[in-house]
């Protein structure tokens, strides 16, 4: 298999620790994720994006829902919130509006963001809330044992679809675009460089940004579907994925073993929620409008 090499844009001192350590709560290691799981890879990419973006880490907050991916918040050495199942986005909405100087990153699973939290997703995108959403899509509810998710492709065997999934699944990138997201991209955990770059890009982009990361769950999804281990997933991603920046999202639906179109599909500028709010209030109220000072000393 091809070696994936990462260009590290800084010098590593000889006695260095892992360069991503400062971004992680090392006192919480080892983490709970299984060998071969892709979630850790995405976190690695995220820490590199933070590093490269030179963001002030005191002003970056991570909000997660519940699930294997939901545990990311607990390992990020940032202000971090592990909320309730499906509700990371509305929590993040309140956090962002109270403290707009924060860069709020929502990091959660496909089930969390698109089943129980699906309603919040379309509305946060519609409002163009200035949130950066990273969805680790392992095509299943992993934390609870590998049940069918709204992303699970046709014919896949899951804990609650022992005879195979037959209900149609969501195409997340098409959904995000249709709901109004300013930025939409998809990568797999094979595409670590591109994923880091996308993550870095959204850290300096205003508005609702969505990155879907296809990520293996060897323990529950791969095993049940005889798709091998974490390494086999990398081989599979490498084999079937095709980079098509700007591809119409409607053509990017996923199937069990067919092509995975990856790339940046949408990058557009729309005024975000706070800009729209200020604009409307100033138009209606003129000088009487008071800039929100939501976070108060009291």
């Amino acid at each position: 298999m091809n070696q994936v090499t990462l260009e590290i844009p800084y010098e590593i001192p000889v006695d260095a620790h892992n360069p991503v350590e400062p971004f992680l709560r090392m006192d919480r290691m080892p983490h709970i994720w299984c060998p071969g799981c892709g979630i850790g890879t995405t976190v690695n990419c995220f820490t590199r994006a933070l590093l490269d973006s030179k963001a002030n880490l005191d002003k970056v907050a991570v909000v997660s829902g519940i699930g294997c991916t939901g545990r990311v918040a607990g390992y990020a050495n940032l202000d971090s919130f592990h909320t309730t199942h499906g509700r990371a986005l509305p929590f993040a909405t309140g956090l962002k509006l109270a403290n707009p100087e924060l860069q709020v990153v929502v990091y959660s699973g496909d089930g969390d963001l698109f089943a129980i939290g699906g309603n919040h997703f379309i509305h946060a995108a519609r409002r163009n809330m200035d949130l950066k959403v990273i969805c680790v899509n392992n095509l299943t509810y992993a934390m609870t044992g590998g049940q069918t998710a709204p992303t699970t492709p046709d014919h896949v065997i899951s804990a609650t679809s022992p005879y195979g999934v037959f209900e149609p699944s969501f195409n997340l990138v098409a959904l995000a675009e249709a709901a109004g997201a300013s930025y939409v991209a998809r990568w797999t955990t094979y595409h670590v460089k591109q994923l880091s770059r996308s993550m870095e890009e959204v850290l300096s982009k205003k508005g609702f940004c969505f990155i879907e990361v296809l990520s293996p769950c060897p323990t529950l999804y791969q095993r049940r579907n005889k798709m091998g281990d974490g390494l086999d997933a990398m081989k599979f991603y490498k084999q079937v994925s095709k980079i098509r920046h700007g591809a119409p999202t409607s053509e990017c639906a996923l199937t069990k073993s067919g092509e995975i179109v990856v790339g940046k599909f949408v990058d557009r500028d729309r005024p975000d929620y706070l800009e729209l709010l200020r604009g409307q209030m100033t138009e209606s109220l003129g000088d009487r409008y008071a800039e929100p000072e939501v976070s108060c000393s009291c």
Binding site: T93, L97, N99
Partner: protein, 385 residues
């Protein structure tokens, strides 16, 4: 500290309870609200949406009550004082996040203008049937504060107090209005800002390396921080240790969950909020709250006119239940009469505190209107016999 004058509409007003409650939130320093429309509580946020852009804050109408009840908590961790407002089915949807606020010790306020239930029930008519839900509605062991105003003036005053208590104890506070109190219009006096006491959030003075988010002070309540200040803290609804890290063991669970209850004990005892009248010589005490306390007042007068020594005990803080006060009374009165617009909720608490030392007589009502004072009078007369 005193209220920020920007939010205080000083003067004498003619307001309904919902609007007065909104003015209370503004005086208390709330600058963020998230809501979802539902009768009979929407007026609270309608007024907030109208007032807040000139005060300096944000109202956002969310896509449902699940969203509203967690958005306010995000705002609190961002540094805001925040609240949401609902009724009936909306309150049911908020239960998971009441538990989240209790577990993460997030100070915030839930206004519930009660209507008839269950389910969609009586959208435009009063009830007091969410009292047990307010206390026990989310899963697991926890404790909350619930306040029951009985007039628009109290909707203003107690809302401020509710915010103050939520900051002091770091708990979610339920403002338990009912449709009658929410929609009745009366005189409301709003004082000058410097006459209004507001409890500031107790932010830690420790530097990040010494600070633990859930390390309690002597009063069992931990200090707060907000996002963006360099503390790099972690908040989770999982059982967590003093650092806020998930900790799946029996010992941590025991310490943590007991503390969530114990920190509110002062309010169950000495500091319970109640209004009493004629208790010194009382043989029958009417225990009531919210709109029903005003009907009970009439019944007590009628009983006194007949020579029955009736007294009044009005629950202002229904939760924690003022157990000690009722228990003390039980030793020396003949009976408690407990009218409420439900089929028996707080009456069970009265019976528990009375522990068989006085008769406890419910006067139930399935909802849709207030009691007829005669129904309460009849119970008083029978109790005195």
């Amino acid at each position: 500290m005193h209220a920020d004058p920007k939010g205080v509409l000083t003067g004498v007003h003619f307001l309904d309870g919902d609007h007065a409650c909104c003015e209370g939130t503004l005086a208390a320093g709330a600058r963020f609200s998230a809501g979802y429309p539902i009768t009979p509580s929407t007026e609270v946020v309608e007024r907030f949406a109208w007032r807040i852009p000139t005060v300096g804050g944000i109202f956002i109408q969310m896509e449902d009550e699940l969203a509203a009840s967690i958005a306010i908590q995000g705002a609190v961790w961002g540094g805001a004082k925040a609240f949401t407002v609902t009724s009936g089915p909306g309150f049911s949807l908020m239960m998971e996040h009441i538990g989240y606020a209790a577990m993460t010790e997030t100070p915030c306020v839930f206004v519930n203008v009660q209507r008839g239930g269950p389910s969609t029930g009586l959208p435009t008519l009063p009830a007091q049937a969410d009292m047990m839900q307010a206390r026990w509605g989310s899963h697991g062991d926890y404790a909350i504060i619930a306040l029951c105003p009985n007039s628009p003036q109290e909707c203003f005053d107690l809302t401020i107090q509710g915010f103050n208590l939520s900051e002091e104890f770091r708990v979610p506070v339920m403002m338990m209005l009912d449709e009658c109190v929410g929609h009745m219009t009366e005189k409301v006096v709003i004082p000058e800002a410097d006459q209004i006491e507001v409890t500031p959030r107790r932010y830690t003075k420790l530097p990040p390396e010494e600070f633990h988010l859930f390390e309690p002070r002597e009063d069992l309540v931990p200090d707060m921080v907000k996002a963006g200040d360099g503390y790099r803290f972690h908040v989770t609804g999982l059982t967590h240790d003093e650092r806020g890290y998930p900790s799946m063991n029996v010992e941590t669970q025991d310490v943590q969950v007991r503390r969530l209850q114990d920190k509110l004990k002062p309010l169950a005892n000495g500091r319970a909020l109640c209004e009493t009248e004629n208790l010194d010589d009382a043989e029958v005490v009417v225990v009531s709250y919210g709109i029903t306390s005003r009907v009970a007042q009439r019944a007590i007068q009628l009983a006194r006119a007949q020579g029955i020594r009736a007294g009044k005990f009005r629950l202002i803080s229904a939760w924690p239940f003022p157990e000690q006060r009722i228990s003390d009374l039980a030793g020396r009165v003949k009976a408690f009469v407990v009218p409420e617009i439900n089929l028996g909720q707080m009456v069970h608490e009265v019976a528990r505190a009375a522990a068989g030392r006085a008769a406890v007589i419910p006067v139930s009502h399935a909802g849709g209107s207030v009691h007829n004072p005669d129904a309460i009078l009849k119970a008083i007369v029978e109790a005195a016999r």
